[in-house]
Subunit: 322 residues, 2 copies
């Protein structure tokens, strides 16, 4: 049994707990929190909830630590700290800063294996971008996100004066997807690939038209996009828009000789954090196996053979799935 | 420069030559044939064509040998022979016999790296089956083939008395795909997933109705399937049905908690052999790199980290594509 710990208990951590319940080779040892453990309770499953400061005393009890904190401030601090003591897996998703983040962790992980930026983007989508362009170098990658809730854009709506609560869906534009599918290799900006649909509940006595204008003119977030604003009651927002679906697709259109090939990878997820947690659990298995081989340091999804992710042994994979 | 040789010159080998023309880190050294080299000429590119018996004298001139012979008789004989002397990549596609095939090659490859069964199925599709079920163990994989030409079924048509020439397309059934996409996890037989469309040119004075009946009642090949037969002139067959398009998709529908997730990987290929050749070239790069690390023996796509496939170095991949 691979003994797993979780650092930070939020939506992704709850997803990890659910994913662990579906595998027979791993066991959740403890959940570590910065909060008072007494006020934290698990949505599902039962494992001790301990203060984060006690983790350092459990080096011999935990094989892999799954770091479920946020990318903005938690992980840059926690990941190097934990990688010194434990094998780790995290879902750091600040694409631009991954190289410097990894460098810090690589220094810490001299006797551990730390797999960074695991999830679906960065993660599975990144893998497809590498796979596709390696096979078809005379071609072009396309990433579409959605349909799904964007946390950053929802937050931007909520910061507007007069907005009580809001949820923003990023929706890929079907015509753009079909243009890529046709083999045309178009040049597409992010705005040409996505539209934005906002569900907004207002405070009383607010000018709807002004708010709509503020949203649609917000630079970077909405200005360049086909943006639709639906004003709804706060109840409707909670009832119909509190799930966290997401998904998207990576496509590649490439040529060999006079022939075109289109490759496509897509996800349609009812729960973004549960799926991300499931990917992390598969990579926890890989981190454990790599560390057993003394293959230490900061790793990415590009470094891990697929057989390391599976509960089945290599011979069975070859027999059943090759 | 990685120095590459090709063994056997057919459609896949011609695809390899085209794929090599698109990369800057590999060079085609020679094509080896069992035929009289004087009667073989390359469709494209220029490289010496040599008799297969001369390959053994070129151990120091070639880094990776791409074995492009057929799976039925060529590869079982050639792959162990070449793996003794060279790093190899092949596209052996007899799924049921892969374990014993690999065992033979593994014995031969004590000082070389031999990546077997590279292509899209086995190959990329196999990778997706492992990836998907590792992440979502409470789920089910589905493989659909087509729309594309099936060589085996086309041959079965051509063996019927009275048939002059024929081409068979395997076509996935859209309703079955949509059932999986809906998250229902249906049980589907191969016949429930595919229909078969036949284009048949007849010899003179043959009874069409009888031939159609013979086709539709042919056990294993057509009997269980929704089969359509179009009788066409031989010219039309050559003009409209001599390309080799193919494709297909691997889907997985899996659950976490109370949520369903559908993952999907699809290929739409204008030329099956050119795409297969392109996959082999990317894995030739991996075979070369693994052998440099003395990671010898028979390998599969499950054993190779994705970074080994790319012309870009790992840091650049992390920066640009993670």
């Amino acid at each position: 049994m691979i003994r797993v710990g979780i650092v930070g208990y939020g939506n992704v951590a709850a997803g990890v707990v659910k994913a662990l319940a579906l595998v027979s080779d791993m066991k959740l040892v403890a959940v570590f929190t910065r909060r008072d453990p007494k006020i934290v309770s698990l949505q599902e499953g039962n494992a001790p909830i301990l203060h984060i400061d006690t983790a350092k005393d459990m080096k011999n009890d935990i094989d892999v630590m799954l770091l479920c904190g946020g990318s903005a401030t938690d992980l840059p601090e926690q990941a190097p700290y934990f990688a010194k003591m434990f094998n780790t897996v995290d879902s750091y998703d600040n694409h631009a800063k991954i190289p410097e983040y990894m460098a810090e962790i690589d220094k810490a992980a001299s006797k551990t294996t730390a797999i960074v930026s695991v999830g679906w983007d960065p993660g599975l989508f990144s893998m497809m971008r590498v796979l596709f362009e390696s096979i078809l170098p005379d071609g072009k990658n396309y990433t579409f996100w959605g349909e799904g809730v964007s946390q950053g854009h929802s937050d931007a709506l909520r910061r507007i004066d007069g907005v009580l609560h809001a949820v923003q869906y990023t929706v890929p534009i079907e015509d753009s997807i079909n243009e890529v599918r046709s083999g045309k290799c178009p040049s597409l900006t992010t705005a040409q690939k996505h539209k934005r649909i906002c569900y907004v509940a207002l405070k009383p006595d607010v000018n709807k038209e002004e708010i709509e204008k503020t949203i649609k003119c917000m630079p970077h977030y909405f200005q360049d996009y086909d943006t639709t604003v639906h004003f709804v009651e706060i109840n409707e927002l909670f009832e119909n828009h509190s799930k966290m679906p997401h998904g998207g697709l990576v496509m590649h259109s490439g040529n060999t000789g006079n022939n075109n090939h289109v490759t496509e990878f897509s996800l349609k997820l009812e729960s973004n954090p549960e799926f991300t947690g499931s990917v992390m659990v598969a990579y926890a298995r890989a981190a454990y196996r790599l560390s057993k081989e003394k293959n230490y340091g900061a790793k990415t999804v590009f470094d891990v053979p697929l057989s390391y992710l599976s509960q089945k042994d290599r011979n069975l994979l070859i027999k059943e799935l090759l």
